[in-house]
Subunit: 427 residues, 2 copies
């Protein structure tokens, strides 16, 4: 393949004509496909259906500690669920509180509580002139939406191949007391699919914040979401690393089974120091009597332990892997060597991160949409939805069927080529 | 029986000696009983166990609208759940959002959102010097805990037999723009067990608040919790009454199935004007992708409609009624005519409200505790836990077995008599 930048205007003009014709043809197919969100496919949800047989009307509904899970009580969640999710994160059950379906809700509540009540006795954020969060980007749009919702200033931190730019993070965290947090998806990160290196984690655990109420929001959403059995990223456990540095209050870890059991009906957790958990519980005990312990016990009895989760995740991988590989194959085949795009090749998680030429992402997403394929909005992976290069597009291959994915993928690369040629012709 | 106030000091002294001996005897039994919270008994939870058979591994997990309840989506809850809880409240499904297990959580979030973001575009409460809530008391301690947690000043409103003192409510709401809300449990109210009269509801729906962001927090927790089939309170539907007055934004209704299906694993809702729901969703869409729709569908398929709920509640009544009657029988037998206490005789709900002579409640609760019976803390039913008369005690007869309840009840009346005699002797 000849790189587009080496083509003459004439060659590009011929190519544009061809691509336009192909695009009109594709448009005429009337596709209606969605690659916008990291939603599990129906067949992934089917895998967990045996969980529906866990209980029947004659079951003893007490957990291993004798707690009747049907009644009020056990604010922190049942012991088995704390153990199960703790095991998944590599944290002792004493350091885990189990909540309802969504870790996003737990993160939102944590920020909200910091705004109204401060963090472990510090000044409530609403009383401060300025509160800032560091936002490694491209990152998770829903994280950024939370901080934006609370009027927290977001500072974009560039992402390297081994995690956020730690020079910049260290400088900002240690110098600016208004910096109260950093959003991290440390493993198979959304959307890059990379995993923070040991070195990055070591530097995270050794931050010296100017603010006593600075917290690392460690959203370990994809900690068991490997695509391959033989090629897997590994992530050090941050809470223990922070503890070893005498900084155990500095990190709040979050996780859920949304992409393990059911996206709409899993269980979620926070893992943190006992000091942080006491702080969480001070509001939590006002907020709720207890979360759904029946669903917690359902998960405990179904998965049993980390090994159960790992076995289950192999089945997810068997469904996800071919989807990732198909998209990557289409990109490689159609865009390889053209010099108009780069993309990540993750070993896990839910996303492929795609970078077009500068100033093309919005237009590519629009062209896809016009031809019936919905992608995550361009810019969504950046704070305030502003991608400074208008280049990053998050690809979510999980939800469509293989057939739909092929059609979406082919359309996507076509749009990438067309928009790139148009841009080059404008120059 | 001779009223205690008619007894001579000598008679009282003799009585005190007798009662003390009886108390020591009771204490020696080493009871360990709990009448402190409105927790359903195990046999009530057993009733709903067939709900555990609703799903199995081969079920189609789509709802009536074709929504796969296992996946993300449907922020407002599935249609069937909105319809079911709407029917229970007498409100159209469009006006209902269904949440997770706890209506308490929904109320907390509503107050929290008002603090951080204001109400439907009004000034966020954190920016105001003073925010006040009206608190009809005796009332629900967890309501008061929410407002206290957010530093909201609580104004105690006396409760009459037909609801809060509406003269006082009208005056405060119409004159003071700092008054932003009123906590109401309008039916079989916690702890009195009374139901607001039509007249009180009419006046509620016709309030003229000085504050545009004033809301009636209408916690209809016991709307289907009748004890008798032939004697039932009725409550007008407030949202439609407010709408008829052109004030549909003034009320937020809350409910859950915590005391219908499972206390720890029900579904909850808010019912309100579309304007209020839009306001709720503005934060909710940042907070969570969707609540547990599997549990929502489980409830829909189990109860089907309001009639299903009503039939189910008859079974609850069959368990609750004898408990209420036993406690009331013991009180009547042992305290009737003594002139030292009054109590309510509710037709529904979870509580009996007991009033001792002034200045006795704390001591009675303490004596019960010393002899092994835990009651709700005296004062808990008032803002800041301060009962101005130290007289109100909330009796929660649901959780203990009949046998335990008899023992608790007998001990309770003994403590009431003993403490009353002691007080009279001090005079």
């Amino acid at each position: 393949m000849k790189a587009y930048c080496e083509m003459s205007k004439e060659e590009l003009a011929v190519l544009e004509k061809e691509l336009k014709a192909q695009y009109e043809e594709a448009k005429a197919k009337g596709l209606k496909l969605d690659m916008s969100r990291g939603k599990p496919a129906a067949e992934q949800l089917d895998m967990t259906m045996p969980m529906m047989d866990i209980f029947n009307r004659n079951c003893d509904m007490r957990d291993e500690k004798g707690v009747d899970v049907r009644n009020y009580g056990n604010l922190e969640g049942i012991w088995g669920a704390r153990r199960l999710l703790g095991e998944m994160l590599g944290v002792d059950p004493e350091h885990v509180i189990v909540f309802g379906t969504a870790s996003l809700n737990v993160m939102y509540d944590t920020v909200s509580r910091s705004v109204t009540h401060g963090v472990m006795g510090s000044t409530p954020w609403y009383k401060l002139d300025k509160v800032k969060f560091l936002c490694p980007a491209p990152g998770y749009d829903r994280h950024f939406a939370i901080t934006e919702h609370f009027g927290i200033e977001m500072i974009t931190i560039p992402m390297n191949e081994d995690g956020p730019d730690m020079d910049m993070v260290e400088k900002l965290v240690s110098e600016d007391p208004a910096v109260k947090g950093i959003w991290c998806v440390p493993m198979y990160t959304n959307p890059l699919g990379i995993t923070y290196s040991e070195e990055v984690c070591r530097r995270m655990a050794d931050l010296n914040p100017a603010a006593e109420d600075f917290r690392i929001y460690w959203d370990n959403a994809y900690c068991v979401h490997h695509l391959y059995e033989d090629k897997q990223d590994t992530l050090p456990e941050l809470l223990s690393m922070c503890r070893a540095n005498g900084k155990e209050d500095m990190v709040l870890e979050f996780a859920s089974t949304s992409k393990i059991s059911f996206a709409g009906a899993g269980i979620s957790c926070i893992a943190a120091s006992l000091g942080n958990l006491e702080w969480v519980k001070k509001s939590m005990t006002i907020q709720i009597i207890s979360h759904d312990k029946i669903n917690q016990l359902r998960h405990v009895l179904y998965f049993k332990d980390l090994n159960g989760i790992k076995e289950h995740m192999k089945k997810h991988a068997a469904i996800m892997r071919p989807k990732f590989e198909m998209v990557l194959e289409i990109m490689e085949r159609e865009l390889g060597g053209l010099g108009i795009a780069t993309w990540t090749k993750p070993l896990g998680g839910y996303f492929i991160s795609f970078n077009s030429m500068d100033g093309c992402a919005k237009e590519i997403v629009q062209r896809c949409k016009d031809a019936g394929v919905t992608l995550t909005g361009a810019g969504a992976t950046y704070p305030y939805k502003k991608d400074p290069h208008d280049s990053n597009i998050r690809i979510a291959p999980s939800y469509p069927t293989m057939e739909e994915l092929r059609a979406s993928g082919e359309l996507f690369v076509l749009c990438v080529k067309l928009v790139s040629v148009e841009r080059l012709l404008e120059k």
